[in-house]
Symmetry: C2
Subunit: 247 residues, 2 copies
């Protein structure tokens, strides 16, 4: 089983409110898309198309946002947007603000991002990344008759390890977890506790090509991955707080 | 930039004490290896070749190992091997034993693994995975005249997220971190805090092909990745404890 990973080249800049599904469907004409391909999509273009863009000039920071902004030497209006998109502050000091996003993803700043955004604006994660993924999957099915999987991603830092990696925050047509418990290894031992985070593996792989800087390749095709197509949510990747010894 | 990922097929089972470098050099004749390819190697075959195999019948558990074994309903001799390969117990309850390995990798059981090991034995991580990687890189250079990168991996669970993913624990010929601070995004914003964990991305990507069960593909070729070749250590991926808000 060989895997190939390649970008949808010269993908246009997405402006707030544009139809991302239409643009993706149009851009896919440039390649020979196949059944079972996985489209990995940077959340930034999904958020922009869905108008999850905040003009900081229109934001009034709360006292909490002002205080955190002072401690961290950051724009309190950006902190305010982060707090509005958080349901919990998980860790905080004078450098980092680790929150649980409204979806439950634990990451820095609830994924609020200044990069790749024009002017004095920030963007948040999509409101329902699974739903965004399902819409794109459906449009591809309708236009090309192909069954593909969609993974919407963001790059997060990680506890214990240095450096950022791309993670799945929304999926359609792929089960983000692959449960191989009950299968046997080379010597006949039953693998007792292995659930593979397939969607995170694919997100990380696509991240190699996606880059973060001005390369303009927010849509990546990953071909050749074996995956389970039963419907699920990227939220299945969120570890239950009670079971997490690091929370 | 397209990436392709494929296994070194029909890789033989490695027995303790065999020369892994010789076997890898021989098996590479089957493919058209290229300059700048990355070989991703499951640590299990490295550990076996380096005799990091413990026969549980020869292990006498300490009182601490017996106690933990009782709490967790696990073989105290296996716990003893874990403790001998740990420099710190980071988290512990009746289900999990999260330790810092002697190298500093924080993971379950210091990477001690019963799977894919014959008989009543367990295997540990390689003593110096970077050194193991450098040896293999050197042998490939001598035999094929090619400059490749080596990443030795293990699958770890993760704080915050469900499911296991493949991580880099030893590298040669590749800087595991790519620092893109100072580069600019599409709108001219300087990316202020982005260090990409390139070796972990590549490890995760190879993990898709490597599988965990009886597929017998412990060596994966990843082709087409841009990476920095300046010498470094996989330990650079370990977050400094003082900077880690989750420790």
């Amino acid at each position: 089983m060989d895997i190939s990973i390649f970008p949808l080249k010269n993908f246009p800049i997405i402006n707030p409110g544009e139809s991302l599904t239409e643009i993706i469907v149009r851009e896919l004409k440039k390649i020979d898309l196949k059944n079972h391909d996985i489209l990995v999509i940077a959340h930034t273009i999904v958020s922009k198309a869905e108008n999850q863009v905040y003009n900081l000039n229109e934001i009034t920071p709360s006292p909490l946002a002002i205080h955190i902004g002072t401690i961290q030497d950051k724009d309190p209006r950006k902190i305010e947007v982060i707090l509005r998109n958080s349901k919990e502050i998980v860790r905080m000091n004078d450098r980092v603000l680790i929150t649980s996003s409204l979806h439950g993803f634990v990451c820095a700043n609830s994924g609020i991002d200044q990069s790749n955004t024009a002017g004095n604006t920030v963007i948040s994660l999509p409101i329902d990344p699974d739903l965004s993924a399902r819409r794109i999957k459906k449009a591809i099915k309708e236009n090309y008759g192909l069954d593909v999987a969609i993974i919407i991603t963001d790059t997060f830092g990680r506890p214990l390890r240095v450096g950022t990696v791309n993670f799945a925050i929304g999926v359609a047509g792929i089960n983000p977890l692959e449960d191989i418990r009950g299968s046997y290894d080379l010597f006949g031992y039953e693998l007792r506790s292995t659930i593979i985070a397939r969607a995170d593996e694919v997100a990380a792989a696509a991240g190699i090509v996606m880059g973060q800087a001005n390369e303009g390749t927010p849509v990546i095709i990953v071909r050749g991955v074996k995956y389970s197509t039963n419907e699920a949510s990227a939220r299945d990747l969120i570890r239950n707080q009670e079971k997490d010894v690091f929370r």
